[in-house]
């Protein structure tokens, strides 16, 4: 028992560090480890993953709020689209064939991966424009954060708000209907579509994915998908990992984070696409 618990804590710790740095839910990392390595039934692995998303989100958000890396206005503004998406996703279960969604979202991930690679090649981490966006100004979304790695304050503008909202709505549908991609699409909406800096995007994604997951978590809680002996040690490990990860992330360069992010993005994209065909 104690060995099993310690192993789960260690796995959680690893997933928490990775999730906090990349702004991903951790389901991507956890589900294969739990099902393939630990022999956990897929039903309980999904239940544990939902708890994992919340643990990563809440653990990491404490530091991201205190150090003002994330953008709370952007988070709450976009959260309308995500929660609406999650709700419609749940309502659409059985109406839409998930096959098409897998293909659509898989392609979107692959396209974003390509965009991110282009950003890596052309060394354009930060965009500076002279003209402010009308919607961003109206909703006061432009902000700044202190980058501990560059040791300077980074001011940034947000653009393409409708596009960002659309991707966020899709992200909500994906997590409500398919139960996946809670973090990846959020990072894409902010980083790729709305041109936010990567660190602001991953930390804001961390705050948001917990809120989105909380809505569906109650379903899993009451239908018995959450097994305490798996979820509890995992969540405890993740809380520790996410606390570490949220500190480490601030000292990494955006470029390094992107280099780790791209292969994971492509991996998820291919996996989703394959599920659809």
């Amino acid at each position: 028992m104690i060995n099993y618990a310690l192993l789960m804590i260690a796995i959680g710790c690893f997933a928490g560090i990775a999730g906090a740095i990349l702004g991903l839910g951790g389901g991507i990392i956890l589900t294969p480890i739990l099902t393939l390595l630990m022999g956990v039934d897929i039903k309980y692995a999904i239940g544990a993953s939902i708890v994992a998303v919340i643990a990563t989100s809440s653990g990491a958000t404490i530091a991201y709020l205190r150090d003002e890396v994330l953008n709370l206005r952007v988070a709450m503004f976009l959260e309308i689209a995500t929660t609406l998406g999650a709700l419609s996703g749940a309502l659409l279960t059985g109406v839409i064939d998930p096959k098409y969604l897998y293909i659509l979202f898989g392609l979107l991930l692959l396209f974003s991966g390509y965009n991110m690679i282009r950003k890596l090649i052309t060394h354009t981490e930060l965009l500076h424009r002279a003209k402010p966006d009308r919607l961003a100004a109206k909703f006061r979304l432009d902000s700044s954060y202190y980058d501990k790695q560059m040791m300077k304050k980074v001011d940034y503008q947000v653009e393409h708000i409708p596009g960002g909202l659309a991707v966020m709505y899709g992200a909500g549908i994906a997590s409500g209907l398919l139960g996946i991609g809670s973090g990846a699409f959020k990072v894409i909406a902010m980083d790729t579509v709305m041109k936010m800096p990567l660190k602001a995007s991953t930390s804001t994604s961390n705050l948001m994915m917990g809120v989105t997951a909380a809505a569906s978590a109650t379903v899993y809680f009451f239908n018995g998908s959450i097994k305490p002996e798996i979820a509890v040690p995992l969540a405890l490990g993740i809380l520790v990992g996410a606390t570490i990860g949220s500190r480490v992330m601030q000292h990494l360069s955006a470029r390094v984070i992107r280099m780790v992010f791209v292969p994971i993005l492509l991996y998820i994209g291919i996996q989703m696409f394959m599920k659809g065909i």
Binding site: T61, I62, V211, T218
Partner: protein, 125 residues
């Protein structure tokens, strides 16, 4: 004179610090409950339930808590953890209100309402 952008940033800093503190308390409480349950499980070697059984509704969890059943305590801890993001939204509404940012009071309230609808939907399904 402060530039408008600076006052926005200062306001956000206050809001974020309040939410961060309350979130931290919520996380520590749920972690403490989960840890207590896990330690009890390891020390006693008893789950408090028969093999492959665990509580999934409030009455069962509540009953188990009276007799310190490890699984009941663990499930309570998980439930508290699930509530932390919702707590974050509720506190955000209050903080935006304190900063007289009515636009974001409305936006965040809409988020909370949608969340509540999905919550009820989740329980009913």
């Amino acid at each position: 004179m402060k530039k408008p952008n600076e006052s926005v940033n200062q306001e956000m800093a206050d809001v974020e610090i309040i939410i961060g503190k309350i979130l931290q308390i919520g996380v520590i409480i749920s972690a403490a409950i989960m840890l207590l349950g896990l330690i009890l499980l390891i020390v006693t070697g008893q789950t408090g339930f028969s093999a492959n059984q665990y509580p999934t509704d409030f009455t069962e969890i509540g009953k188990g808590l009276m007799t310190f059943k490890p699984y009941s305590i663990m499930m309570l801890g998980i439930f508290c953890l699930i509530l932390t993001p919702i707590l974050r939204v509720v506190v955000s509404i209050y903080s935006f209100y304190k900063e007289h940012d009515m636009l974001y009071v409305v936006i965040t309230s809409i988020v909370l309402i949608i969340l509540m609808i999905s919550f009820v939907f989740g329980i009913l399904r």
